[in-house]
Amino acid sequence: MIFSTLEHILTHISFSVVSIVITIHFLTLFLLVDEVVGLYDSSEKGMIVTFFCITGLLVTRWIYSGHFPLSDLYESLIFLSWGFSLIHMVSYLKFKKRKNNLSAITAPSAIFTQGFATSGLLTKMHQSAILAPALQSQWLMMHVSMMVLGYAALLCGSLLSVALLVITFRKAIKIIGENNNLSFSLGKIQYMNERSNVLLNTYFISYKNYYRYQLTQQLDRWSYRIISLGFIFLTIGILSGAVWANEAWGSYWNWDPKETWAFITWTVFAIYFHTRTNKNLEGVNSALVASMGFLIIWICYFGVNLLGIGLHSYGSFTLN
């Protein structure tokens, strides 16, 4: 009883704190940066609070259920949210003071996954269930935590790539640079472009374009770095899963739907890395591949579970 109450409290605290953090993010987006530096800092502190709340939530569940809290979709969603806030924390601690684009991705991702996990859709799953015989292994911790961390990092990285694509392609989008004073509309530029014989205007355009270029380049580099990190987790996750399968199911590879989709995800991000080795394909092309990867992760993560097919649904060995 006390555990479920504690769990409830922690869920609500973390959820509200992330909401506040996102509100602050929007404020910093639309107001002048200089005036809200303190606010921005407090939003970072808010993320740290969120991180510890979700950690507490997971630990509570662990003690309560007696097994590593990654046995169903609800727990893995909470863990995914934890992964987002972890990435946020690490990037914050590593690049102190410097505002990076990553926090704009991680904070909303954390709130969305957590919101989805705690929403009515999955209420039936809130009760921590028993562990199926096939899941009773030390590999559970290694395999599932690595997979979910991998998903978290890959989702962040591919979202950055999606942002890059949006900035590159959307005509009327406003550019959010390091400084919001520089916000301008592309339409305006195009208009000015038409009559760009005025030297001042051309200077202005190139100045703006330079910021735009710098931003897309930053997005590109960050998404590459984070996808690389997620790829490591994904690789370790898939391979430890294969070793586990060889212990539990009789073969290290069964072409089970979830397994196959994880491999598809892995292949797509391998393609992403290969597109980057070619200078001509870098940038927009690799970002396209990464945003494809974004969709595939969701198919892999949710699609297979919702359909409940294959060995990963554990239907074949339980008594229901």
Binding site: F95, R98, I130, L131, P133, A134, Q136, S137, W139, Q218, R221, W222, Y224, R225, S228, L229, F231, I232, T235, I236, L239, A242, V243, W244, N246, E247, A248, W249, G250, S251, Y252, W253, W255, P257, T260, W261, F263, I264, T267, V268, A270, I271, H274, T275, T277, N278, K279, V304, G315, S316, F317, T318, L319, N320
Partner: protein, 576 residues
């Protein structure tokens, strides 16, 4: 600080008497080994000269600029290989080169490789979308010709291309093989030469070329040697050249050596510096490719050389391993261990308080041909039994029989049959005739069970009579018959297999994990040049492009400013 001077070991380093401050394992890689006959002597010098002289010969028609030393891209490399040919072209090389080279070039083509990966991914996705391993009738019904999916996809596609068994279909395996050969070709033609290039390192002698790097900065009132110490502290391998030398096409090794013989005390006094970090990160992708190839080889061995089989054995019965195991491919060869006889001593389940099954256990004894017990183990899910290359897994269970006493007589064994009602997966039932068993309309008691824990009994009319647990010895009276349920005998569902590919696959897994992690390292290179009291620093990195400027700025902030600009004071600064 100890400096290591080993000119004898570095005849091919082109800039002898440079000082390796850290002699890590990577450095040993720097000593070129006589790996291939064609490239040993002339090639290395040729390339070096070209590389070094590029700055002086910019107008040269062949645009082999300094980029060659630094670049990641393959085309220039193959350029070098071609140029090297007339000088060092051995006969063997020439033979290998003719036809296979074209094939290699096609296979190692990047867009082709990307296309293959997309194809593999697409086929796998299709394999999960189409239900696998069904009968042809199923596909006739699901993909009818009258109503094709996307206007063209019918059962003809599925059956002709073998998409009903995607992961063993020729199309899929063919694509995988093609991908494997591309992997090999790419490793051979692109990645290995990349190592040769990356192992070369050079000082940049012109301020312009340093400023052209992705990151560059100018430090007034600073010294290269301070920078070197700071870079070393940050984990860089630092090399410095003590004398400003101008390399031309005519410069040879001897002249380098002569020019360096005079510089005895050359500890960081040089005006030029080269430093790098994370070289392993540049080589690791080769390891990733090789690990993938190892896994593919292991997987092929698994597919062609395995035995598999599954068996459901009631508690107390025996089977011989070889009877169960069937070969999966032409390389499958049985072993001595196949004669082992397996006896199921006991099959039982653990339950949670809620009544759900928590674990399945089977107590097995293994007997060799002489009837001697060679092994005994209780296996469970996640804890298989391994003997003589054969692995036995707990994968399933079944209800074999119910042992009962009828009116004190018995015990009788009633065979339990699996019932499939409403898609129920595990429901077993049996029937005990009561009264006149010869009549055409036999009536009796029905017994149903979902697990080995509790048996539900129904009377002749089919009405619920009661629930009994085995071993409880509590009799139940139905229609005048007294029944005691003595025991519930389960069958253990076991999977057996041998897999000769596992060691190779596991080795590949280990290598893949390791090399993927190392691949995260970013190969950073830094050049610096002392220009009077100013130091010009430039650098680049291949992966951590986002973090690199930050790291560089942080390091450069640490470089002390020299107030009284005098070069002679610097060694003291370092010492202190």
């Amino acid at each position: 600080m100890e400096t290591l001077l080993n000119p004898s070991k570095t005849p091919n380093l082109f800039i002898p008497k440079t000082h390796l401050f850290k002699l890590s394992f990577l450095h040993s890689n720097f000593n070129p080994q006589p790996h291939s006959s064609y490239s040993r002597r002339p090639l290395s010098i040729t390339i070096t000269c070209k590389v070094k002289t590029s700055e002086g010969r910019k107008n040269d028609g062949k645009n082999i600029s300094k980029k060659i030393v630094l670049t990641d891209s393959a085309p220039e490399l193959s350029n070098e290989e071609i140029k090297a040919k007339p000088k060092g072209g051995g006969k063997t090389w020439g033979v290998i080169k003719k036809f296979p080279k074209r094939v290699l070039a096609i296979l190692s083509n990047l867009p082709l490789a990307i296309g293959e990966m997309f194809t593999v991914a697409g086929l796998m996705a299709l394999g999960t979308a189409i239900d696998q391993g069904e009968s042809p009738e199923y596909y006739f019904q699901k993909y009818p010709e009258e109503n094709p999916i996307f206007g063209f996809f019918t059962w003809r596609w599925v059956l002709t291309l073998g998409f009903d068994h995607m992961f063993s279909s020729p199309v899929f395996l063919g694509t995988l093989i093609l991908l494997g050969t591309s992997l090999m070709a790419c490793t051979y033609t692109t990645q290995i030469p990349l190592v040769k290039v990356a192992r070369r390192w050079s000082f940049l002698q012109s301020a312009d070329s340093i400023r052209k790097q992705e990151f560059s900065d100018t430090l007034p009132q600073a010294s290269v040697s301070d920078l070197g110490v700071i870079l070393m502290g940050a984990g860089y391998e630092v090399f410095s050249s003590s004398l400003p030398f101008q390399v031309t096409a005519n410069t040879n090794i001897e002249s380098y050596l002569n020019s360096y013989k005079h510089g005895h005390h050359v500890f960081l006094k040089g005006p030029s510096l080269y430093a790098f970090k994370g070289l392993a990160g540049r080589f690791a992708p080769i390891g990733v490719h090789l690990a993938m190839l190892l896994i593919m080889a292991g997987g092929t061995l698994s597919a062609t050389g395995s035995f598999r089989g599954s068996v459901t054995v009631p508690q107390g019965l025996n089977f011989v391993m070889g009877d169960v195991l069937g070969p999966t491919g032409f390389l499958s060869t049985p072993t001595e261990a196949f004669n082992t006889e397996v006896h199921v001593n006991k099959f039982y389940m653990d339950y949670y308080d809620s009544g759900e099954v928590s674990q399945f256990h089977t107590d097995l004894s293994l007997f060799d041909m002489n009837g001697k017990e060679v092994m005994r183990k209780t296996l469970s899910v996640n804890d298989p039994l391994r003997y003589g290359g054969i692995t036995i897994y707990q994968t399933d269970w079944s209800f074999s029989a119910l042992q009962i006493l009828k009116d004190g007589e018995g015990p009788f064994n009633l065979a339990m049959a699996p019932l499939t009602i409403n898609g129920d997966k595990k429901l077993f039932g049996t029937f005990l005739p009561v009264g006149d068993t010869d009549s055409s309309n036999v009536k009796g008691i029905s017994m149903l069970a979902r697990d080995l824990q509790s048996i539900v009994l129904y009377d002749k009319q089919g009405k619920f009579a009661g629930v009994r647990r085995p071993n409880s010895r509590l009799p139940i009276e139905i229609d005048g018959t007294k029944i005691v349920i003595v025991d519930a005998i389960g069958s253990s569902g076991l999977d057996l297999k041998t897999d000769p590919g596992v060691p190779a696959v596991y080795a590949g897994f280990g290598a893949l994990m390791l090399t993927t992690c190392i691949s995260y390292l970013s190969h950073a290179q830094i050049w610096a040049l002392q220009d009077g009291t100013t130091v010009i620093v430039g650098g680049k990195t291949n992966r951590a492009k986002a973090e690199f400027p930050d790291e560089m700025n942080r390091l450069l902030d640490q470089v002390p400013e020299i107030v009284e600009s005098s070069i002679s004071k610097k060694p003291d600064n370092i010492g202190g």
